[in-house]
């Protein structure tokens, strides 16, 4: 039996959505004198359970607002779940949003170090990896320019190169591969395959069903914060496409206002 890398048990993530949230002390003070706060709880995840093992490439699909990114952010440790148990073992590298963890005023080279440090690696380790990262990212002489001058494709190249070169046990990818050109996407696919062969775990969120079918054997389908399906890619993707064309469903799963 392969080792479990990610384990969600009945995970609930609640966001308190406050209408006119008091975000100053003055307003908070005024709110003290009101009988109750004007908010409702939005359950972005309503009791989600699954386990992902070594060497699996798992796709997560679902409509906008279904909870896909929330799952990734919980795995990455950005959110702490409201209830339920989350167990993660190993080093996590996340490509959640374009340019996350980059500082616009620092150069590409400095940002390589910053990114690694944010993952908890040492400066020395990152400097040792610099050459390989540059080789993969192919950003050329831009590497010594401030990142704010980069195109989104360059951001993604550098981000992907860093996240994969630091050799994480778990790699999270959220939709960002789409900004790369065909040649680079192929390079990424090859690297993802290499990761799988070395027994690493990859969680991949995308709306591109072609990419999902190509990269993942197993797919999770999330809908309105509930796990609707977990199984072989073809089967789950077909189910998702059915769901997409079901009439009378809202595109964004906003909660009913009580």
């Amino acid at each position: 039996m392969r080792a479990t890398r990610i384990c969600f048990q009945n995970v609930v993530q609640c966001f308190r959505v406050i209408r006119e949230r008091p975000d100053t002390l003055r307003e908070a003070f005024a709110h003290l004198f009101r009988s109750r706060m004007d908010y409702y709880n939005f359950e972005a995840l309503q009791g989600v359970s699954f386990a992902i093992h070594d060497g699996e490439v798992v796709g997560i699909i679902g409509r906008n607002g279904s909870g896909k990114s929330t799952i990734l952010k919980i795995i990455a440790g950005v959110y702490r779940p409201t209830s339920g148990i989350v167990q993660i073992s190993g080093k996590v590298a996340a490509l959640i949003e374009l340019g996350a963890g980059f500082h616009p005023d620092l150069t590409g080279r400095e940002n390589i170090v910053l990114n690694g440090l944010l993952l908890g690696l040492s400066r020395r380790k990152m400097q040792a990896l610099e050459k390989q990262i540059l080789h993969f990212a192919e950003v050329g002489e831009f590497i010594d320019s401030p990142i704010k001058q980069y195109s989104s494709g360059m951001f993604m190249r550098l981000g992907f190169a860093i996240a994969t070169e630091v050799d994480p046990d778990i790699l999270l990818i959220d939709e960002i591969l789409a900004v790369g050109d065909a040649a680079f996407q192929q390079k990424c696919s090859a690297r993802i395959d290499d990761f799988r062969q070395r027994g690493k775990t990859i969680v991949f969120v995308s709306h591109d069903m072609g990419a999902i079918r190509q990269l993942c054997r197993r797919v999770l389908l999330v809908h309105n914060g509930v796990l609707l399906g977990d199984g072989p890619a073809d089967q789950i993707v077909a189910r998702y496409e059915e769901l997409l064309h079901k009439p009378g469903d809202t595109v964004i799963s906003a909660p009913a206002i009580p």
Partner: protein, 268 residues
Amino acid sequence: MSDATPTLAESLKEVVHYRDLLYMLTWRDIKARYKQSMMGFFWALLMPLLIVGAGVLVRIVFLMSSGNHINFLDLASIALKSLPWAFFVSAIKFATNSLVGNVNLVTKIYFPREVLPLAAVLASLFDTAIASSLIIILLVFGKVGVTIHLLWAPVILGLIILFTAALALFLSCANLFFRDVKYLVDILLTFGIFFTPVFYEARTMGKWAPLLLLNPLGSLLEALNTTIIRHQGPSLPWLAYAASCAILGLFAAWRIFDRAEASFAESI
């Protein structure tokens, strides 16, 4: 990993593990402050020296109007106390904004968020260290003299840093939830200099002196002055009081920060 708040020891261990990140963010803060400015590192000297200058001017005016002679030791004392004050003001200002100013990091990646306010404190410490070298020269050439009591100075300075770090952690997270904390802090820092013995000594306030020393920063500055300029041992009860405020305050602030950290990403 679980959804529970980490213990203080776990949290400290994690910050130690991320120490390279702390250095880099500190360095980034220092660089960002001076990179696109005409005067560069001169800015690091400007603020502390302005405070020293203002204090000296006020003192001279007071002494002249009361017909007393201007005493070098009085001026040295003001210069000495102005620096930790300048450090405190700049550290608290930068730290209060440190989480909100880094939304990109806080909402998108995981790392111990304590490093952001702590980096702001360290960057201000670096600034003040530059200005301090000038004051040390002043004290040496002014023949203030060296006694055994000077050994207290590192302890007192250490406590000032701990106390500042405690407030920095607390205020950075308060400002994340309530954005006007920043303005409140600005007001308190502006008027704080009147209620902290920086330009004067607490004993000149007579029976009100203990009230000034209740501010831990006040008793620490007073102790710094007593040991370096007046060559006496510090008031031990007040030093013990300030030390417990600084250390217990840091524990409490760290704990509050860890508890609040769970909702940083969604509340920012």
